[in-house]
Symmetry: C2
Subunit: 334 residues, 2 copies
Amino acid sequence: MSENRVWTLQAYPEGLDFASAIHLDRRPTPEPADGQVTIAADWLSLDAGTRMWMTPRTDSYQPPIPLGSPVPGQVMGRVLESRAPGFAPGDLVRAFGQWADVSCVDALASGLMKLDPTVSDPRLHLGPLGMNGWTALVGIEEVGRVKAGDTVLVSAAAGATGMLAAQIAREQGARVIGIAGGPAKCAFLTEQLKLDAAIDHQGPDVEAAIAQAAPEGIDVYFENVGGPLLDAVLPNMAHYGRIAICGLMANYAQAQPGPKRFDQILSRRLQVTGFFSPDFAHRGPELTARLRSWTDAGKLMTPFDETIGLDNVLTAYARLFTGANIGKVVVRVR
Amino acid sequence: MSENRVWTLQAYPEGLDFASAIHLDRRPTPEPADGQVTIAADWLSLDAGTRMWMTPRTDSYQPPIPLGSPVPGQVMGRVLESRAPGFAPGDLVRAFGQWADVSCVDALASGLMKLDPTVSDPRLHLGPLGMNGWTALVGIEEVGRVKAGDTVLVSAAAGATGMLAAQIAREQGARVIGIAGGPAKCAFLTEQLKLDAAIDHQGPDVEAAIAQAAPEGIDVYFENVGGPLLDAVLPNMAHYGRIAICGLMANYAQAQPGPKRFDQILSRRLQVTGFFSPDFAHRGPELTARLRSWTDAGKLMTPFDETIGLDNVLTAYARLFTGANIGKVVVRVR
């Protein structure tokens, strides 16, 4: 492979018009420098959070992607060449690389990790056995402090992280209500994930629908979305409730006004905590082992929304924001 | 005393026009029913939070004051008549009573408490040795988890609770920055309270002033105000910072838009917690004992903003919202 296809950011996209801003370039296949490896991608993980860095905003948790640079993203594949100790050609690995056929990554800075090749479906390494799983588990157990009998509400509950959070909360003995867009996803939540209730955020009065599903209030809200949805949830929180914020997807492309019902944090004595998975990446092995015990036992449903071909990345990426996906959005590169 | 003067709520006030809405009525002096006592007020505590219940909003932590009812508030004085076990005429007590010469209170529901008459200034029971003190102590120690070396920011730092929070944080070894309105209050913060820095929220660029005073970011923000001030603070929070919300004074008269920079909770992985003192009133004796050890040792400055005469309550109450007061606002009833 002497030529490498790489998606590069040429401009900060407007809304969902990714095609005008992100172009597929052809560049020479990279050679690893000392401490680096190159990875031939089998799959890319597409994540809503990346959208934040496709803006010129400097107040996110990562700086904006410089224009002209490859789009960063999680990749899983085989080591092509290694100049990093502990990694050899052919190893199955995961790292923060690029939307490209071949990513060149620094072993230390990229979270490069060797993966267990005996996992039944390797894509699990990009969902429940990776950052989505860690986020769901830490968010439910440690940030939300969910206990048996709690009423737990999860937004984007048909998405990669939300569906895991919802199922983990259910495993902990909570009553779980999922929020998703449209009847098909809501049916998925109650019929496939076996949640106790589902709420369609496209419905006419979401605040009233939550009140009806949780008349005693929400003890823990696992938040992925923000925007007007959060305003529908705040007056439905139980006193001393916890809100675990792992994402504010409604804000990524464009800043949103703050929640009008912010004062409910005081009135209801809520605890609102922002968290994100790179902060606990060092606990990956321990968290992954726990998650794998659930996936091996068939306790976590983990559908994938798979698109074939690196040239189709932008179409796949838009699915995250139009809400077309049920489950984790991945691209099969080869 | 056969006639009792009682401030009653005739309408929900607009802004600071209390005089059109709250009238001084003359009613018969109440007689205690079983389980009740009457208290002849020496002082009233005036608290910004009461303003929330002078609106028809039902989403606060107490229901609105019914029109035609006495305005509720904390009173300190002597028991006049008692039909509650453990209380006798002449006892020095504090309770949630009414803005009146004589309050009739239920011993259990009103937080009625006998006070130590040996405290040098009895007004201390309405400030540092009461709810303001409990709120400051719990907010700094337990909600904010302040530790030595932290940078702590306190809003309304010349107010009854803020000045205690700021001084307690300083006692814990934190670097403390106070926010107040105008040069006189800012001078009070640095010269009298010995805070490390003061920021005038009437100044031209509060966000930049905070950044300059805390270039490494704010570890703990003790929040009394909300509104635009919170937006100036959010981008100045250090990663993993805590925001302890004990009040949102800017919201009381009128709902405010939510903080535009709400997304900083996620970007900076903040923890935002609402709390209020009735929730830990059962810990009053333990908290009061600790606070008294500081007041007795002269470690807490506790100025009072005292107005003489029950007929001047409305003028005194407005001082809280125009920011005229330095320290705890009380009214000397007799």
